[in-house]
Symmetry: C2
Subunit: 199 residues, 2 copies
C-alpha cells in the first residue's frame, strides 16, 4: 500500500463519518445521537470513529464549520456577481434559498444544533453567522444608498430575508409542492417586495 | 387537608414540571434532557415526576399540544376580528410574530423538537399545524378573491408569512435590537408587501 492510498483511505473514512453524523444529528439531534450510531451508519466500529475524530462534538463542529464556510462563500459569490443591488439581491436570495432547500438535512444541523457546541467552537460559528448576516445587511444598505430599496427598517428587512431561507431547513422536504428552483425564484421576487424595490 | 387543596397542589406540581420541561428542552433538546433534570429544576425527586406525568415524552406532548392549541386559537381570533382581509392579515401576522418573540423559549420546543414525539402524538400535532397553515392560506386566498392581494404564488406567500413568525423562535432574544411589538408591527406591514396588497 502506497502512502497516497493510505492517506486517501483515511480521508474517505473521515468523510463517511461526517456524512453519517449529519444524517443522524438531523434525525435525532446531537444529544439523541451516540457515537455508536454514527460509527455503525458509516460501517465502522465505535473505536474506529475515534481514530478519525476526537469526539462527537468535534464532528458537529466540523459539519458546522464547513456548512457556514460554504454558505458565506456562496453569499459572497452571489453578491459579487453584480454591481446592481437589485440583481445582486435576486441572486443571493435565490442561491441562499435553493441551498437551504437542497441541503435541508445539513442545514437543519447547522442551524438548530449549534447550542451543543463547546464555547470555543460556538464562538467561531457565531463569528461566521455574523459575517453572513453582515453581507446581507450591507447589500440592503447599498440598495438603500443607491435609491433602489426603500424598506421601513432595512435591518429587520435583512433579518426577514435570512429567516425565509433558514426556515426552509425546518419545513422543506423532497417531493413536496415546489422544487428548490421554484422557491428560489419566488423568494428572489419576494425579497424585492420586502426591501420595497422600485421596479 | 381538603380535597380541593390536594387537587390544586397536584395541579401546581404538574404545572411546575411542565415549566421546567419547557426550559430544559429549549436549552438542551428533548434527547439531551433527563427526567432527573426536569424533576430537580421543579424541586422534586425523579420518582415524584412519574406521579404526575407518564414519561418525558408525555411532557413534550403536553407542551406541544397546549402550544399549538394556543397558537391556533390566537390565529383564529385575530382572523375573526375583521372581515377586511388587509386588517385581518395585519392583525394575525402581528399576533403570530409577537407571540413567537415573547414566548421564544416555548416556541423553540414546539417547533424544533416535534421529531421526538411518538407517532400517535406526532399525528395530533401535525393535524394542528395543518389547521394553522390552512387558516393563513385561507386568509390569503380570501384577500386574492376580494381583489385585495395579488401574490404571484398565494400558497408560497402564506408559507413565507409562517416562516417569518416561526423563525423568531430561533433568533429572537430579550434585550436585542427590537421589542416583540416593533417586530410585530414591521412584519404586519411586510406581510402586505409579501401578498402584494394594493394600498
Amino acid at each position: 500500500m502506497t502512502e497516497q492510498t493510505a492517506l486517501s483511505r483515511a480521508e474517505t473514512s473521515r468523510a463517511r463519518l461526517l456524512e453519517a453524523a449529519v444524517t443522524a444529528f438531523a434525525e435525532k439531534g446531537f444529544h439523541g445521537t451516540t457515537t455508536r450510531d454514527i460509527a455503525s451508519a458509516a460501517g465502522m466500529s465505535p473505536a474506529a470513529l475515534y481514530v478519525h475524530h476526537k469526539s462527537k462534538e468535534e464532528l458537529l463542529y466540523l459539519i458546522s464549520k464547513e456548512g457556514h464556510d460554504d454558505t458565506l462563500r456562496l453569499i459572497r459569490g452571489a453578491i459579487a456577481a453584480s454591481d446592481n443591488p437589485v440583481d445582486a439581491l435576486r441572486r443571493v436570495v435565490y442561491d441562499f434559498a435553493t441551498h437551504h432547500a437542497r441541503d435541508h438535512v445539513g442545514a437543519r444541523v447547522i442551524n438548530y444544533e449549534i447550542g451543543a457546541l463547546t464555547p470555543d467552537h460556538l464562538a467561531v460559528i457565531r463569528r461566521l453567522r455574523r459575517e453572513i448576516d453582515d453581507e446581507i445587511r450591507a447589500l440592503v444598505a447599498r440598495g438603500v444608498d443607491a435609491g433602489e430599496f426603500h424598506p421601513r427598517d432595512p435591518r429587520l428587512a435583512a433579518t426577514a430575508l435570512l429567516s425565509l431561507g433558514i426556515d426552509l431547513a425546518r419545513w422543506y422536504r423532497e417531493g413536496g409542492r415546489w422544487t428548490p428552483d421554484q422557491i428560489g425564484k419566488e423568494y428572489a421576487d419576494m425579497a424585492l417586495d420586502i426591501v420595497a424595490a422600485r421596479s
